[in-house]
Symmetry: C2
Subunit: 218 residues, 2 copies
């Protein structure tokens, strides 16, 4: 599958590598592909022929699926810059969190409570089909849920388009092995999964590891 991976940071790189290993054709989107890539990105591109680099709009051109893995503070700029027409009908898996580290650790959220980044992304490109997913776990857990508690934990997703959520659930099951995916409702539920980050960050500190997730126990 041709996948546009928007963002070349830790999350975008790890997702790109794992998808390329599984046979997907990944085009990583970046602001300025002409500039020299950072060392880690250059090494990644060398090592993985299935991953290439392009400007944001070019990365999306011909993509069957878009993953938004830029820093949360840049997410709206990036999708708005690509434009609603170019993203019309495309499924965007929004992995981003609105984390603002400007006052140190733990970060605060740049939007929460009465809105969410997921909602803002969907509003910025209304013709795209945004599914908030994977933002509640560390990247190592994203791509290998069985590495934590034998996979006995839940991924919580949300979005306005039922078909898009179903496609994303199948994709995450097939590519990464996510077995338990809970549909939390429409994109406003991203308030819940993003605000959970405040708890996640404290858990990270208390547990001393980012390799954890939650299981809903009924």
């Amino acid at each position: 599958m041709r996948i546009a991976m928007l963002g070349t940071g830790v999350v975008g790189r790890a997702l790109a590598v794992e998808l390329a290993r599984r046979g997907d054709d990944v085009v990583m989107g970046t602001r300025d592909p002409a500039g020299p890539p950072a060392d880690e990105l250059a090494a990644l591109l060398d090592e993985h022929p299935g991953v290439s680099l392009a400007a944001f709009p070019d990365a999306v051109d011909g993509a069957e699926l878009v993953m938004l893995a830029v820093g949360g503070l840049h997410a709206i700029d990036v999708v708005a810059g690509i434009g609603d027409d170019a993203l019309d009908g495309l499924v965007i898996i929004d992995v981003s969190n609105p984390l603002d580290f400007s006052a140190g650790f733990p970060p605060t959220l740049s939007v929460c409570n009465t809105s969410s980044l997921g909602e803002q992304v969907q509003a910025a490109v209304p013709s795209a089909r945004v599914v908030k997913a994977l933002n509640t776990v560390n990247v190592e857990v994203m791509v290998d849920p069985t590495s934590v508690g034998a996979g006995d934990h839940d991924l919580i997703i949300c979005g306005n388009d039922a078909d898009a959520k179903s496609e994303v659930a199948s994709f995450l099951r097939e590519r990464f092995g996510w077995e338990s995916i809970i549909d939390l409702g429409d994109i406003t539920a991203a308030r819940g999964t993003e605000m959970y980050l405040a708890l996640w960050l404290r858990m990270l500190a208390a547990l001393g590891t980012s390799r954890f997730n939650i299981r809903i126990v009924k």
Copy 2:
């Protein structure tokens, strides 16, 4: 144990009944104990001789433990009204959440992100030892964690005073059977457990039950 239960709503009543059943002497605090109690409260007082009603300051007088179970929007007024001197050294289990239902369901939080109700309560009565606890689960789960998933889930607490947290953990284990209690750190971690409510409320809607909790899977 003599326990001051601040708040006569659903949560305060259920906690008071369960504690009285286990032999505790519970004084429920209310704003105006001279007024006629609502029907449910009157029935409770009739049925449970171990539970009595008093004005907020009188409820705390002689108490060995305080539980703050008022609506979150009233929590600061209630503790500030009782006063720091009257609460000096006392452990307050802060069960409240800053839920604002004025715009309907789901509610928003009246404080979050850069502060929390737990922090505000601690700041309002600095000589008390506030432990945020139980606010992440429904009252039925609070008093009977084994009723959900055989108790295989976690209670997350926080507070500035290590001894107070240890006392609260013992209390919740002995009274209600909480086996797994995770100490999330100082009271600023209440931002995490309160903001989790945004996720909890969406889970409530998605699962169709309030009888659930999370387990941290490592």
